[in-house]
Symmetry: C2
Subunit: 149 residues, 2 copies
């Protein structure tokens, strides 16, 4: 399911990356690659139905995701945090360009802390997408974990 209903808001962020989708999709699911642009480590290769532990060594923090659905080189859907569902779509534009779209669903419109919560979430996704672009296009792998709270 891609829609949690009217009570909830989605946070959507998209970026264009100049590489084929397969290359970018693999960067998320291969535990050797995620540390180049997002979390420090991922406990194992992502697969449908698996629970994956993601660590941020810099913040001494970790969390888990439940991988709900994967379509090779096209889509990854997982659940994390407080019943939020994240869908990452890899939308190939042509042989060398892909739009990566992140949709996080589950922000309660009536949450009194909605605004700071969703702004913080937006910050995280846009930063990850920019670090991903720098890594995929240029091999630059040390931009991550430098936002200051």
């Amino acid at each position: 399911m891609n829609n949690k209903g009217d009570k909830f808001l989605k946070n959507i962020s998209k970026i264009l990356i100049k590489k084929p989708a397969q290359h970018i999709y693999e960067a998320f699911i291969d535990p050797e690659k995620i540390g180049n642009f997002w979390f420090s480590t991922s406990s194992e290769r992502w697969k449908e139905g698996k629970t994956i532990i993601l660590r941020y060594d810099e913040y001494n923090a970790e969390g888990s995701i439940q991988v709900l659905e994967m379509v090779e080189n096209r889509m990854i859907r997982f659940e994390w945090g407080h019943e939020h569902v994240v869908t990452i779509n890899f939308i190939e534009q042509n042989e060398s360009e892909t739009i990566v779209e992140v949709i996080e669903d589950g922000f309660n419109k009536e949450d009194e802390n909605l605004l700071p919560y969703i702004l913080d979430n937006k910050e995280g996704w846009v930063y990850m997408l920019c670090c991903l672009k720098a890594y995929i296009e240029h091999g630059v792998n040390d931009l991550r974990a430098s936002l200051v709270k």
Copy 2:
């Protein structure tokens, strides 16, 4: 003035960049450099009291800013858009690291479109800061203008 009052919200974004403040400050005010991480062009060198035209060639768009105050290698303050005041602080941590902090003030809490407006603003600032970091630390200058709306 750094505070528009209780009726308004600020949007604050910060990143750590591994270079001295002077290097980063210069990237904003030198019209030869801004195209490496933010707008396409800047009409002239930024100075207190000047009105500067900023262009996004990719979107065939342009806007102007009024430079209100500058403290060399420390702070730039300008007004743009609908009476929003932007303060960029360059906070040196040591000889080789600087926190760049962007504070945009002027979001009306009672604006019914506040949420999409401030999310879009957050997206823009975080993306600019990440592109700035990639440019300053690695000379990567082609990440900009790739967010998709």
